[in-house]
């Protein structure tokens, strides 16, 4: 099955628009780059490059307090870095919507992403944060829009994990 990486990036971006996301906070990542570039080019989405992923989570929680919808985009290693702030966000119900590269299921071709996957999935599992690993046949826009429904309907953080081949193609990596 050939994946149209441009269609995946466009779909994810369309989902953010459909889900009324106004802010994209991100730490640069090769895999998520096609999405964050689209956000940068979208006048309806304010973008902010964070210094660290955990800082981005806290900024998103502040935006939620002010009634704004946001996405925090990163490599999944950043989820691993964010255990404490995500725990606080779950406890105080200021949800964070995360889109991160590396799902840890299909298509993880490089051993040097092992710690990234272990840290990211470990924090999500440890804090019982719902997450979804994107599949090549998914309607990406709908997945994002539905995830945002869960984030704001249940006031829970939620992560969409994106295997690298879906956004940058086969055999490519940072």
């Amino acid at each position: 099955m050939t994946v149209d990486v441009n269609a995946v990036a466009a779909g994810l971006h369309d989902g953010l628009t459909a889900g009324r996301v106004e802010h994209c906070i991100y730490v640069p990542d090769s895999v998520m780059g096609p999405l964050t570039t689209r956000c940068e080019q979208d006048p309806a989405i304010h973008t902010l490059v964070a210094a660290r992923e955990d800082e981005g989570m806290a900024i998103a929680a502040g935006l939620f307090l002010a009634g704004k919808r946001s996405v925090v985009a990163m490599e999944a290693s950043g989820i691993g870095l964010s255990g404490l702030i995500l725990a606080r966000c779950q406890l105080q119900r200021t949800p964070v919507f995360i889109m991160a590269s590396h799902g840890g299921l299909l298509g993880e071709a490089f051993d040097f992403h092992g710690a990234t996957i272990a840290a990211g999935r470990g924090v999500l599992a440890g804090l019982n944060i719902p997450h979804y690993v994107l599949r090549p046949d998914d309607d990406c826009s709908d997945v994002v829009r539905r995830a945002l429904q869960t984030v704001h309907g249940q006031r829970t953080s939620f992560a969409i994990l994106v295997p690298p081949y879906l956004l940058v193609g086969e055999g490519r990596s940072a």
Partner: protein, 198 residues
């Protein structure tokens, strides 16, 4: 000037500002003052200012104050760069810099001296004219007054003298008794959100 003086001055000039406080005794001082509906107490170490940045970006007409101890703020130093780049005019960052970690017997120094915080902020991109080191109450009050009257973001390093009251561990090795906040963590978040969305 000690921690209590700093917190009382901030309260005096706060008016309707949303406040997010770092962990520790400054939160305690604040909840012993009359309750304000938009206060997040005891944010986890390093996250008070970044969460305040999010509020400031999301509610641009609302004044927002973060108040962190120097240990927490130095651990969150990268956030100073993020704030400087986004430069929300409605945000004031106050560092209560007494030079010690409060979560101990008061003998453990923070790894950066209080007087260095302005240099740190400027190095991270803050405008020099909006960065203040206040070691006495009069310049602190003046900096707080300016932060209300003129667009920011403002960075105020309040250099406080450490006192025995700052230590969590007493001289006999026992832990100091702590007062309870009048509202819990979840209530304070919901009250702050309601305040912001009204």
């Amino acid at each position: 000037m000690n921690r209590g003086d700093v917190v009382r001055a901030v309260i005096e000039f706060r008016n309707d500002a949303v406040m997010i406080l770092g962990p520790g005794k400054s939160s305690g001082f604040l909840w012993e003052a009359p309750l304000h509906p938009a206060t997040v107490y005891n944010m986890e170490l390093t996250y008070a200012t970044s969460m305040a940045l999010g509020v400031a970006l999301g509610a641009p007409k609302q004044r927002v104050i973060s108040l962190e101890g120097d240990g927490s703020m130095f651990a969150a130093a990268p956030t100073l760069g993020t704030v400087a780049r986004s430069a929300p005019p409605n945000l004031t960052v106050i560092v209560l810099a007494n030079g010690i970690w409060g979560t101990s017997d008061g003998s453990v120094p923070v790894t950066i001296p209080p007087a260095k915080f302005p240099e740190l902020a400027i190095s991270c991109g803050w405008e020099r004219s909006r960065v203040t080191l206040a070691s006495e109450l009069a310049p602190l009050r003046e900096a707080l007054r300016k932060s209300i009257a003129e667009p920011g973001p403002w960075f105020i390093a309040a250099e406080a003298l450490p006192s025995s009251e700052d230590a969590s561990v007493l001289a006999d090795g026992t832990l100091r008794k702590r007062s309870q906040a009048p509202i819990d963590l979840i209530e304070s978040i919901d009250a702050t959100r309601r305040f912001l969305l009204k």
